[in-house]
Symmetry: C2
Subunit: 155 residues, 2 copies
DNA sequence: CTTCATGGTTTTATAATGCAACCACACAAG
DNA sequence: CTTGTGTGGTTGCATTATAAAACCATGAAG
């Protein structure tokens, strides 16, 4: 396999996000980190993935600023992997994937869990596209526009 | 490379979604279909990807029910690829990826476009997690719950 | 009919993945 | 202190996934 096309320099933010998130297993590792896993062994045990791939993915996620390493919380000499704010920011992506699957999966009965509001136990509402003024938007009611040049910032 | 682990039988909807969407290029093909591309050559020209990979991806997206083939709209004998409702349902995923990248990208100045409300030209609002009753939810305010057994349906 | 366009298919070589074995250090127990 | 187990990797190997390029079959236009 020749090297996969990199989307790193792409002008589209979707493509750019795939550079950080698009490797096989990456989103599932983030999912587990959101559930609170932190230790290499925890990720490995939960996901059942190859250790060399896990090591490479964790390294990549750290390099992309999604995870950070921190001293283990039990006081041992080991390191843990903790989500950064950038990592936490992936939550809507995971929710979107989940809701798409729940709605369109060929075998919805194979899905084991639903995402609920912790306080009430009720399902989280479907994600909605909304305009600045709150109007609900369908995909057809959106479009792309050139990004305005950023304002100059004082040094 | 040995065969990648399949998430097909996974009980988590996020993992399951990656089976259909997780191949390199798949989400970008869908993005282009959402922009209105339909013909093999259009996808190929726009994305600049290898034709054999494009053919394989289009086949996979059709097999997963995200795209369907239809006679070409110009009356020729060719086929077109059109998004199904399931395909259109991926829009929030793409929006979530876009918004994550816009917020956290190391080089936001390299992003060329913003997603706007077509009528007003104003940026689309950031996606929000909301409870059934409309309360805004942080990730910590959500949890997973076993999916209730489906009701028996009349034959 | 000829020529070009379209939508693939096939071949080839390298990167990406998973498996399994190995390794270096950390930690715990005696 | 020694020994054994746990932890977090690293390494070697084989197969699949990817991209590039060439090839091919049909469609369309003149």
């Amino acid at each position: 396999m020749v090297k996969r096309t990199s989307f790193e320099g792409d002008s589209c933010p979707i493509a750019r996000s795939l550079e950080a998130l698009g490797d096989w297993w990456s989103l599932l590792i983030i999912r587990e980190a959101l559930f609170g896993l932190r230790r290499f062994g925890e990720f490995q045990n939960k996901l059942g993935m190859a250790k060399n791939i896990l090591a490479a993915r964790l390294r990549s996620l750290v390099d992309h600023g999604i995870l950070a390493t921190a001293p283990a919380s039990d006081g041992s000499a080991y390191q843990e992997y903790v989500l950064t704010p950038k990592g936490h920011g992936t939550f809507p992506i995971l929710v979107a994937l989940r809701q798409w699957s729940e709605e369109f999966d060929d075998h919805p009965e194979e899905i084991a869990t639903i995402l609920v509001d912790r306080a009430k136990g009720r399902p989280v509402k479907k994600l909605e596209m909304r305009a600045e003024d709150g109007r609900l938007l369908s995909p057809a009611e959106t479009t792309l526009k050139p990004r305005p040049a950023p304002r100059r910032r004082s040094a």
